[in-house]
Symmetry: C2
Subunit: 163 residues, 2 copies
């Protein structure tokens, strides 16, 4: 399998997980948090599959396509670890879905990131809420859910707050 | 269709065109030229689908994944417009396939690029050779071929040197 094959498989897996998550929160109120805007492709996808849902983006520096930049009042600029509690307080409610695509190919860095993100993420999620992450994020009261059909195991990590 | 959907479709179209081209040159000797290494994903794919074929890469600055960087003697560093005639002379034969992924989202810049590339590309291709390009490159003696099944029209431009 070439890197092109692998890349296409990863993008399709990401889309399958996002589509699954949109269905999973259909009956759960609350905003959606996108951690890491990047080029804005998954933000654009979330906008499309979750019309009418408030989507807030957490990013350090905006580098997305101009059509994929959220309005200023939907943007939390800075370190997500610091911004998540600020967002939770300002919005007055927890997120129904958090999608985080912040991990990189560096396993040790991913573990450090997961350790920093776990508590702020757990605090920002409402009961029954879903986390879709490209890295493993261990939180005691979260249940890890199986990947949707067709998605390679451990390509994404899906959790539900059952606390 | 979200930008994520559109991106996946583009990557799949690119792979379908590369796979088609590999079949199309099965009985034609000669090297393969990859114009623009980028992250190296299509180079890796070409290596995989064309085992035993010499693949030469043209790039200004190498930024690819370490596993996707060609050996020094398969690399032409600099402006492809200048390097293509040098490659043609050094190798002593024309390419069976040229894949060029140099275009951007800027139509005017793409037309200027196509105008600069047309003659050096035409000179570097052997009779019967195939050009797969992400921009339109008009050359009199080339015939534009239809896209493979499932590929959106004008997503890629496929030419054969029938001169």
């Amino acid at each position: 399998m070439s890197r092109l094959d692998s890349f296409i498989r990863r993008m399709k897996a990401q889309r399958a997980c996002l589509d699954w998550a949109a269905q999973a929160i259909a009956d759960l109120p609350g905003p959606v948090f996108e951690l890491g805007l990047g080029n804005g492709r998954t933000y654009d996808h979330l906008r499309e599959i979750l019309p009418g849902r408030d989507i807030y983006v957490f990013e350090q520096v905006i580098k997305a396509h101009p059509n994929c930049i959220p309005p200023d009042d939907r943007l939390f600029l800075g370190d997500a670890v610091e911004q998540l509690p600020i967002a939770r307080d300002r919005l007055g409610e927890g997120a129904a879905l958090v999608h985080t695509d912040l991990g990189t190919g560096d396993d040790a860095a991913n573990r450090r990131l997961a350790a920093r993100l776990a508590a702020p993420l757990a605090g920002a999620l409402r009961p029954g809420g879903i986390v879709l992450a490209n890295i493993e994020i261990p939180v005691d009261r979260w249940t890890r859910l199986p990947e949707p059909e067709g998605v390679q195991k451990d390509r994404y990590f899906i959790y539900r707050d059952d606390g």
